[in-house]
């Protein structure tokens, strides 16, 4: 079964708006990561948040983690057309550190 589940499955916004994507997971984690994938390409690591952290920032990205609710959110502020991509959350649960990915969110930013 899927460890991480992103929500919504698809999101369409206007350039300049903020995009919020959510991820829920089932078991305790060591850390949670967000990745971006442009169509037909490999994934690119965006940000990692550890289980003892609640919020992290990187440029226009803000990630929050609520371990009591087993959920995380990725906020992209002031979106740009170039942010159009699929976004995946990935959780690290075990000693052997195998990442488990969700199904992803397709973000479309209209110019």
């Amino acid at each position: 079964s899927q460890q991480g589940e992103e929500d919504p499955q698809a999101l369409s916004i206007q350039e300049g708006e903020n995009a919020t994507m959510n991820c829920s997971y089932k078991t305790s984690i060591n850390n949670l990561q967000w990745y971006r994938q442009n169509s037909g390409r490999g994934l690119v690591h965006l940000i990692l948040i550890r289980s003892n952290e609640r919020e992290k920032h990187s440029g226009r990205l803000r990630v929050t983690l609520d371990t009591s609710k087993k959920s995380s959110s990725l906020l992209i502020t002031a979106s740009r057309a170039a942010d159009t991509a699929s976004y995946f959350c990935a959780t690290d649960v075990g000693a052997n550190s195998k990442l488990t990915f969700g199904k992803g969110i397709t973000l479309s930013v209209r110019p």
Partner: protein, 113 residues
């Protein structure tokens, strides 16, 4: 700097034919290596991972196998492809077993017809 190479970019193979996808990493030593498969509209499924030469862990029983003949080389193989093997195959590496950041190759789109 570290780079990861994965080839070919696209592949069309008939059912029952063999498969060999290769992935190499440059600029680092003893990386953790991973093979993922992404079906259309689906998330990534971990197929194999390796923590060292000759050490392969299989995550899902299937028609595929993996080998690591050299420190920075990871090969995905099949003796006889099935229709269900179609998908987007991604190789990735991480610095260590903590997998706190995976670096992905550009992927291979495999179509089995």
């Amino acid at each position: 700097s570290q780079t990861i190479h994965q080839w070919p970019a696209t592949l069309v193979q008939p059912v029952g034919s063999p498969l060999s996808l290769e992935c190499t990493v440059e600029g680092t030593s003893n990386p953790n290596l991973y093979w993922y498969r992404q079906a259309a509209g689906r998330g990534l499924q971990l197929l194999f991972y390796s923590v060292g030469i000759g050490q392969i862990s299989s995550e899902v029983p299937q028609n595929l196998s993996a080998s690591r003949p050299q420190d920075r080389q990871f090969i995905l193989s099949s003796k006889k492809l099935l229709l269900s093997d179609s998908g987007f195959y991604l190789c990735a590496w991480s610095i260590d077993t903590r997998a706190e950041k995976l670096f992905f190759g550009s992927g291979t789109q495999l179509s089995v017809l």
